[in-house]
Symmetry: D3
Subunit: 230 residues, 6 copies
């Protein structure tokens, strides 16, 4: 890894970002072909936030938040900061002061494959964070990493400018060149679901709605009346 900061980031299409934020993580993930989902150990520090934005990426050393300070300057309004680590770490690499700086630049939230602290204050500020742990463990500023290079965060490779979508279901990354196409598919999926929800509320069975009965029978599913018949 070279210790470097890349200044220019080609960001994903803003309209696609808007659509993906509106549909949320589960729908975006399906629209992308069930791909790009970060591992579920990444959890929001409080419930209810739903955001999307182009990624500014940080590669940090475990227990060292020096490069997060460096990254703030590279952020623009609407961005989401994404921090990966060179080794597993739960230290509280991010807190209130960094959030204040990011908020001042219009950053929407943070996704970090490490720990977060000051969670009560962050909730009061309404600055959402998805992290691996909550920990007060302080960090040093001693070793370089990089900003705006591709980083692996919670199992997903994130390129700077990719769309990061995050809500209570987790975090999904949509590559910027697939953003427009994925947003369209996601919107269509969302619209379809509204119709399905109404049918189900009226008592329809998904078995019938999706015509599953024939496939199940072909695969060999048997119905019996009683346990003794198994």
């Amino acid at each position: 890894m070279k210790p470097v900061v890349v200044r220019n980031v080609k960001r994903a299409d803003p309209d696609a970002v808007g659509t993906l934020e509106a549909v949320g993580v589960s729908t975006a993930h399906e629209a992308l072909g069930r791909f790009g989902l970060m591992k579920p150990y990444l959890r929001p520090i409080y419930a209810g936030a739903q955001i999307a934005g182009p990624a500014v990426t940080v590669l940090a050393q475990p227990g060292d938040n020096w490069m997060i300070h460096v990254a703030v300057e590279q952020c623009q309004k609407g961005d989401v900061l994404v921090v990966g680590c060179t080794a597993d770490n739960t230290d509280g690499m991010f807190g209130e002061l960094l959030a204040t700086g990011l908020r001042a630049r219009g950053v929407k939230g943070l996704v970090i494959d490490a720990g977060c602290r000051d969670v009560k204050t962050l909730k009061e500020m309404d600055f959402p964070v998805w992290s691996k742990a909550i920990s007060a463990k302080g960090t040093v500023k001693a070793t370089l990493g990089a900003v705006n290079i591709p980083v692996v965060c919670a199992g997903v490779n994130v390129e700077p400018g990719d769309v990061v979508v995050a809500d209570d279901d987790g975090v999904v990354v949509v590559p910027k060149k697939l953003a427009v196409e994925t947003a369209q598919k996601a919107q269509k999926r969302k619209d379809d679901e509204d119709g399905k929800r109404k049918q189900l509320e009226a008592g329809a069975l998904s078995l019938d709605m999706y015509n599953m009965r024939e496939g199940l029978a072909k695969a060999g599913l048997r119905y019996v009346d009683n346990p003794e018949d198994v």
Copy 2:
């Protein structure tokens, strides 16, 4: 395992179910003789729900929710759906649309040894779920499992029709043939606790209330005044 759906389930006594729902998990678990508790990695997706109902059981393949769709049709008003998996899995096998279908049939909630998604919507619907993870990971419909056979879920063997009690403390399973007896013991326990609570609020020590001092002395507990005397 045979790929089969058993239609008829002998359900536990409804009055016993009602009592067990009212007393909650910790009391029901004690009344059953400290047995039948699912592993504590199973957590409610939101706080505050407290339910009990006869189990409709599903054995599913990891990352495949086909059999949950099949199970919906076998559910009756007041049931709790219980999903076990043939291998460890955190994928989001359950979400808003399945919940809408179950809700339309009067199902009280879901216990799943895998992941759940659409958690924000499920909370708005007030449809409680106890799961191993929250994950947007989509699932396939490719391999058969079974419905209403005994399944192991989070470390407990569940027979169809057994009483599933779930609240913020976890999930306990009361075998249907022990339901009435357990409900009676649980109610008695609950009543006793009310008396104890009042004594404790008034400053009584449990050491005295339970006559522990003699047993402690016999077992060899010593009281000393200062660290140097240890």
Copy 3:
């Protein structure tokens, strides 16, 4: 380990305790030199509580809460009860009745390296607990441990009378002989942060506020305009 209860505990300075409660865990941990933090698997059973108090310590056997009953009698108004275990355990060793007894004596809360139950009621009582797990698993009263000896809890050695500070960020232990000095440093730190927050809200960069640019350049950080230049 000798099965013993030590009656007299030298408790940390009350004013220092008050200051540490007000500043919270992250600041107290930094003021102590980034030390004494319990492992982040210890989580509050509900969000929002912030307490500090001298430790009354318990060493318990896994799945056995006999010594917690013994410890209640040794607690004074303002104390925090700290329970360590001789082996990893998630059983619900603490619940509503014990909390009622502790509350009657003015105890502020509990830190336990094991499980907790009755969490809904504990929240209603506003009795905060930091635990490793939430579990209804009942416990026995069969084997002795000790009260008010040094215990390791979630990775930290706690002496009776040390200051336990706990909030949404976790739990930190300040040795009683360092309490006054740490409280002073923590207060100063808190005051400094207020100034920094204002600068950051106004758009200042922490890179400039902390004069990091020179150090980064010395360490070899390079800025490039585009990915191709890396």
Copy 4:
């Protein structure tokens, strides 16, 4: 749970047991329809052992091995002892002396959903154990459990007399009433694999041997020459 010891166990067919021991876990598990496999956290304390035998089952309390002592008397030559726990536990509930007693009765090995100790001696004795942990943590003899009732061990429900097959790949449980049928299928599978191995050694592709190409194409798999063509 009732504290009880069941004396008479109907054991699985001995010939089927012999076949299942010879084919090993992976083949037995496939022959059973990919079912009955214990969770992979269960590991042999040393490599190379391969056993099968009817289960004598124990339900134990965490950190308490009283019921294992009780179970020894119920074991016969060729049995495998299976220990489940009412809560997660890693204590060393089994060691050299218990193994000596079991060995004297002809027991083939132990499967325990908890910890094991004296592992160096057990290896020298060639007494194989599959456990969740290796731990010297001593246990008490204070609370009853049960012997020869159905127990859940590492995620699988085991009935007394079921066939337990264990080797370096893990542990699978074959219900006694399916033992003969499963042993036959497993033997056939093993024979088939010998032929396949020879073809593969000679350079055949499984893609061709199993006629996968058509299915892959139908499902939509595309072959391209270069990354740019994706």
Copy 5:
């Protein structure tokens, strides 16, 4: 993700691969600037193997090894197969028959972010595997993935043709364009270590060899004679 197989892989320089295999993982990882190391949960199924080779990559669905069968055909002599998964999974996606096919093509070994089975036979075949788990759990062949696209495996993004180095210390990935440079640095490092080892064997202190004393003093390290002086 598009379901695709890329046929042509530009492989890293063979001489660099040879050097990296000879120096092993720890040295290669240091030479790369402490980067590219897979997470330590990936362990060899037996001790002692040390390999390096260009990566052929597979993206598989959890519990589905269809794409591994597809990938065999794309492998050349000296390659290392790398399998990533779209979700966490411990199923035994790889075993003896696939290893036989790969061995016939001269593949050196497998790195898989999932489970492996037939470990006893694989050891006898001397076919090394680094996996997340050992599990007999059988898999299906139902859902497409991809071959020779970039995949994240155990926290590292792997491009087809990158050098995979694996031994008892873990697995590191050296990007193909950095392979030659990294191999040179690694060789130099290895040579230097031989000299250092001799000095240390003769009783030299690393404190002196690396001139650490001044830096330690500057950072504030104090030496005292007795605990009371701390």
Copy 6:
């Protein structure tokens, strides 16, 4: 924590150390009253070593092995080095060169609550290590810790000079002031076990040897002939 090195360590009685090394971890742990055992996630990097020695202690920062270099100078022949960390960490903080330096001073082995690397070489050197992980992840030398102060390692508080006993069953710490007494009890225990082993080999039941039958009956254990009688 103060960044300090304490030069003089009062070491435990050498004869007691010798006895404890001979009896091993499980017996020493029982003799100490089932106390002082490190968590079982600490495992030997290879099987078969059995050591005991006075502790030289290190408190290190995660991912930083500076203080281990400092500690080497404080070690004497027969010591065991014990490294605790201020936060969870799996980085390879220890390897071949440090082992060479320690070996030159006669140190018996290392216990580290973090990762270890060069494990193949360490095994060839016959330098035993008990660690939390095996990882090639390189570390920095940037932040101070301390040497020969009390440190918590894998859940146990270790004072400099305490006896560290380690073998395939784990690691136990015997406080130096209890070393002689514990060694005597351990030796007696070992002698007793020899007699018991012979009885068990001859077919005696531990149920009878320890007179458990009466206690079991009193506690309510029932024997029944068949499952139907439960």
